[in-house]
Symmetry: C3
Subunit: 258 residues, 3 copies
């Protein structure tokens, strides 16, 4: 990507500043309504001008950092190295919970210390945790804008970001998978906190689900379980809604036969 | 837009890389929910770092490439030349349908070969079609992220993108207009697959609709037909919902009197 | 942020073009549905290539410029200086209402002359108003795309933008606060057109609301009033919906006791 000009103007630092991509990826439970995600993007840009903001998702399980932790780990796994993830599912904002940063071999994560980043840490080979200071001028109710987005932008841009090593993040004892629904998408597909790298036998309403490669392998309106594009086991109905068919909601357990 | 510096540092290629805008425009039926459109944007940025992504719309008629084809053609017609359109309404993803690219005198389009790009091709003066390879490592269920967004980004950036000429795209026999509802927007306005460059006489529930220049030309709560900002005929109710008033849904035919 | 290269290539203008951030902030009542906000972003980029577009919010009170005016003033107050705000809540589009630009000591605003920018002007120390021409080729129904977004982009980029001084904008007689609901967010929190820089005594359904610093200061499911992250008084229920609890809708008055 770097190139040197042909005429002796070889300021590599200068070139490098434009060549390196600085990306902050946002994942929240704020929804697209209101000024919240816009203000987070604004705060990131104001903190580090060359940062680009990608809105990964804003309908993570609301008020449920535990379910969101599995979804987050899956949704960011394949993102390019060094892109920084800024995650906010934060029902205790303004209370005593800490703000944290997590460094893995792939990237920085920032978010509340409520387990939201815990599964991403478990899936990584290296994981170091840090506490982020909460500035006095931060609002009590919107750390996404006042703490997390600016910190993520500074980390993405390589700017100094004060923090202190910790070793007791919330969620470090959570299991790396869990046979429960963690997300229902706009199509009614239900994702589970199970990794889909091998076929899994699931039973719903007394009947075992067919394991398929994808929707097209079953007839229209048929139910299936399969490894979705995030790498998670997902229960789906071709051109229909699995959530409606089976009455599934976030947090519901499913029966795992193997 | 290009400028040459005043001091002999005239690397025009270098300047050009910053001056040329490389834009990928996304149109899908994924909705704003879930990690899908965020992952598509990420895939585009990862494939070509200078690309900018514009989210044109994500509520194209779900699972209905035919209705979406008219909407797409209208929604992108006035976009600047050379911006690349990446369109995904793709119920057969993972099946045998091809991935295609379309080149017109204005721009590249990429998407599934299910007719989604067919009306844009009909509206163009020149249209060449190509099949895009589907990489082995692509997921079975999310070609938007794994095939279409990277291809669109590479085309926008002028990077090589292997493809093979074809002459049998799906939808080449579809009519260039059709008196049916193809989209209902958040205000309840119902767009038809009819071009609005001249007044059209429409009958709904036995009564002919008034043809107006815009909402302000009729009293509040009154129904009208007019040429909307996309250039399509639209049925609307001033400060109300035409879809609710007339019970309209996507695919419904309307009576065209001329 | 500016830096001079080490080798005599000192075209500061050139550097400056990349260093200065040109941002257009969009606030509309269009919702995220349809091609509308995507086309506005496209129009801004097409008008000024280096502009970055931040989608601040698209669910401002629909068809209600008066309520939206308070929300707008609060939502943009802390944005970086010189970022340009492009606001559209515009039920009279295509009618006789003017298009206006407002210059304060902090930034430019553009939007319809229906009071939408009036409270931002009242909150500023300096406010000058201008009428923007509406080009003949503008559509009758979508000035957000055809008038406001391009004007905002040109102002952000420092490009010429013809306009004429005016002194009679709509809304100049509106009060600077008003004890009414102006917005209900996705969590069911109800914002009022009251500035929250001091505790306020509010009565709802005959009972005075507790004034708190934030959600965490009250038990789960408890109601509170507090200064929200925009600086407005907000009625909330911890991990619940105040709008549902109290049956609140946009425009509803609340009883202010002091």
């Amino acid at each position: 990507m770097l190139e040197t000009s042909q005429n002796g103007c070889k300021n590599k630092n200068f070139l490098h500043r434009f060549a390196a991509m600085q990306v902050v990826v946002l994942l929240t439970d704020f929804g697209w309504e209101g000024p919240y995600i816009g203000q987070m993007e604004a705060a990131a840009l104001a903190a580090a001008h060359r940062v680009r903001v990608v809105h990964l998702m804003h309908d993570a399980p609301r008020f449920r950092p535990r379910e969101a932790a599995y979804l987050l780990a899956a949704a960011v796994e394949a993102l390019p190295k060094d892109w920084v993830v800024c995650a906010v599912v934060d029902p205790e904002v303004g209370g005593a919970r800490r703000a944290v940063a997590l460094k893995t071999e792939r990237r920085w994560f920032v978010g509340p210390d409520n387990g939201l980043l815990a599964i991403a840490a478990k899936r990584a080979q290296e994981a170091s945790w840090y506490a982020l200071p909460i500035p006095d001028e931060a609002s009590a109710s919107f750390h996404g804008r006042d703490v997390f987005a600016p910190a993520a932008a500074r980390l993405a841009a390589g700017l100094p970001c004060p923090m202190q090593r910790i070793d007791d993040p919330v969620g470090r004892d959570w299991p790396i998978e869990d046979a429960r629904v963690i997300y229902i998408d706009g199509f009614g597909n239900a994702m589970l906190a199970l990794w889909g790298d091998r076929p899994r036998r699931l039973r719903l309403h007394g009947k075992e689900l067919c394991w398929a490669r994808t929707f097209c392998d079953v007839p229209k309106a048929e139910a299936l379980a399969y490894c979705n594009s995030l790498g998670l086991v997902e229960i789906a109905v071709r051109e229909g809604s699995a959530a409606a068919r089976f009455g599934l909601a976030i947090g519901d357990p499913v029966e795992l036969l193997d």
